[in-house]
Amino acid sequence: MFPPLAHLQFAIVASFCFGLVAVHLAQDLHAQVVVVHGTVIDRAQGHPLAAVQVSIHGEGTSTRTDARGRFELLAPSQTVRLRVESLGYLPWEEEVQVGADPLRIPLTADPLRLEGFVVRSPVTGTASLLQPSALLTRSDLAERMATSVAAMVAEEPGVHVRTNGPMATQPIIRGLSGDRVVVLEDGLRGGDVSTTAPDHAVTIEPSTVENVEVIRGPAGLAFGSNTLGGVVNVRRYEVPRSLVPDLEWGISTFGESVNRGGSLSGDLRGSTGTFAFQVGGGVRRAGDTRTPGGSFLPFTDVSALDGGAGLSLVRDGGFLGAAVRGYQSRYGVPSSYDGVTLPGSHVGGVYVEVDRISGRTQGEWQVPGDGPLESVSGGINAVRFEQWEFEEGGFVGTRFGQLSSSGELVLRFSGERHQGAVGASGFWHDRRAEGSFTGTRPARQHSLALFAVDQIQVGRSTKLVTGLRVDRQGVVPLERTETLLVRDIRPRRFTAVTGALGLQRSWGSAWDAGVQAARAFRAPTIEELFSAGPHLASYSYEIGDPSLEAEVGIGVDGVLRWQGDRGRAELSVFGMWIDDYITFAPQIDEATGLPMRDPRLRRYVVFAPEQGDARLLGVELSSLLMLSDRWGLATAADLLHARAADGSPLPEMPPPTLRAELRRLSEVGTFAVNLQARGPQRRVPAAPAAAEATCDPQVVNGEAAVLPSTYCPTSGTVLLGARLALDLESRGWGFPQGWGIPGGRLTVSVDNLLDTRWRDPLWRAKQVAPQPGRNLRIGMEVRP
């Protein structure tokens, strides 16, 4: 039943225990020896927890749970006091009666803990120690609740967010964005068009999320190609994986003052017989966003509705289930500020409506016996997506439609010194658009990959991680009519062999270090290959280049982690060398020497993709230091230097950032004051010689005439904030016991406390409109 490695661990522990027992027997021949065994799970999410320390109080015997959360210990008597400890969870200690039935020990996430969990590789199921990563739990997300997933993860080092209004946001990791950062739902692709334009939204309602994994750097082996920048894996566990003994439910609400908005979400999980089910959903509404000084940014209101349900058959050997989910939203894209039309906006404003329906099946089979094959798991996700962009007057300027599916099959193996997996993954999507302003050519994109990963234990404290992946991708235009500027439209196919090699070493229980070199690749997108149309969100007319090559990147990461009684820290240094990095650049008309105007409307400058080598170097730091038993200081900082082969700065790179929070911790909650400091963004590409505007906006006929933000520096800023998080149950403010509601968690926070006027260096309209002003946020979660 147990894998051989666990047997080895067990044998070592057992030998040690037997030695102790033998001594004990020599002293007391009447003593009994029994085996205590069971599973440790996350109380809120129900999934098993690996590498959890389990010890028998007062006996000096301990072990760690295996990949399935299971443990076995020799106990001196039928009644023992067990202590279970894991990073990020409250310790669990109880006296238990040892019997034939296995124990089921739920651990509760520690409300005082800080971000910085090590996430687990979805491929091997083992800790992904070689890459900088973080796991944001429901508690973390409740404290960071925002209108978008990207905004919620933006406090992580190396992670930034590109906004075009509160909904149209995309995560940027290590300066890379768009298709280079993959946003997944339960490990599978979401199937929206969020990466294709800066006014498109990630179609995930944040209030319904259980946890979020953030992996920085190339992660192609585990999550698929195109992950040069990193991965944001949003988890809801839509397909239940385990039975729960009692009904579990939760309700959370959230409100904020900056847009007079709020959300309400809830979920319910339960079991009947061998079936587990879950239902959940959320609703969100918000008005226009207030900026410092009191002016509002029109067309930033939001409404969203999200709901889903899942059902699984759960047995001892695994689960098989399905889930469906529906998502609708309507949001505005900012159009003007203080009466001035923003550069890159639609005159009169735009509303975007999104409708997404998804269905997925997932399953896992844990192979019985002691063979090397440990488990087989897989999943398929199918998504139907539609998006309407309503121009002034209510007519549809552009309508997108996409059918997509993605899937994976993973076989996990383990041996005495090995833990690994082989598998296959793929995706397919058929994207089309229609309308007066669309420039997207209908096309299909597909990918199939085979991969293998192995983690080898080398000695007691060193691990070697190797991986290999072969990708085959294709982009097939469904319509090949040539346009004036885009010729030779043809199907493109890309094949790439990528891989990773890493080494991790531990020194005692406090220090870990890892170094990894990875090769990743990204095929050009449909838009980069075939576009021909106005891109009003970026104030450009973008054309594609059907002859583009794939980007290929070599990334090297070095990670040093420390964890002690007084805190933890993670320092990562990385370098990435990307061949054929794609950027969009303005085109010059050879006939006139002036910027080329679009052939249709003669209003926008034509931008075309250009390829060149790029180099990105950076440092990221996150830490928590306990200054005393009650005071803690959390910091997160990042610094990025990105340049093209000729030494010029790459466009749209984030400035250095520092976030620091001083926390007063107690049993009932946390009070904290924080600051976010962004350095000036001075390294921007030089503007074209023939540019017709400057970085200072000039208002002409009510419209801002200004140089594209790509070429304009941004000054630094410091924002102050405060936060109070209370555990109502501990505080004694819980609900009456007769209600059966044990309590909740209340979070009150203020962002931009001083109502500072600041500019987002990554927003295309930064020269004209500032970012949101002071924001009071109140969130409450009730969860047994």
Binding site: I357, G359, A382, R384, E386, R399, F400, G401, L403, D430, R432, A433, E434, G435, S436, T438, G439, R441, P442, L478, E479, T481, T483, L484, L485, A532, G533, A591, R597, D598, P599, R600, R602
Partner: protein, 148 residues
């Protein structure tokens, strides 16, 4: 029976979901200007940066249909051949459709007047269900035709 209907409904829903919501659409025509020629009458008008017309008016005689040849130009001033694009067609809009009507034909159209007076028209290059190109308004002067 109910169970069978339920499965049938699920099957219909699944098949509907698998149908792509948007048909394959050809790209927009990238026209920048338009030439309008009345070859028989010797009139030739064209838009300038698609903002104004030169000359500024089209002169017609009542009861004398005019055959107009329309040619789209790209931003470099080169003609665009749309004869092989069945998804594209020339359309005309008149402010007073009671006195002017447009009969589209292959490569040209016939403009018919039904009264004396002045109105304004504009030409569109229609692409499936929307206009890819719309000219500015053009003044049209209709004078009395030759009486028998």
């Amino acid at each position: 029976m109910i169970r069978r209907s339920g499965w049938l409904a699920l099957l219909v829903i699944a098949l509907t979901a698998c149908e792509h919501p948007i048909a394959v659409v050809s790209p927009h025509i990238e026209a920048a200007d338009l030439i309008v020629e009345d070859r028989a009458g010797g009139q030739a008008l064209h838009t300038e940066f698609n903002r104004t017309w030169s000359p500024s008016a089209l002169h017609l005689r009542d009861d004398e249909p005019v055959k107009l040849f329309l040619t789209a130009l790209d931003f470099r001033g080169e003609p665009i051949d749309i004869s092989d694009r069945p998804d594209l067609s020339f359309r005309m809009e008149a402010e007073d459709p009671a006195i002017l009507q447009w009969e589209p034909l292959n490569g040209f159209g016939i403009l018919r007047s039904f009264g004396v007076g002045e109105t304004r028209i504009r030409f569109l290059i229609w692409h499936i269900n929307h206009a890819d190109f719309v000219t500015p308004w053009l003044d049209v002067v209709i004078t009395p035709g030759d009486l028998p």
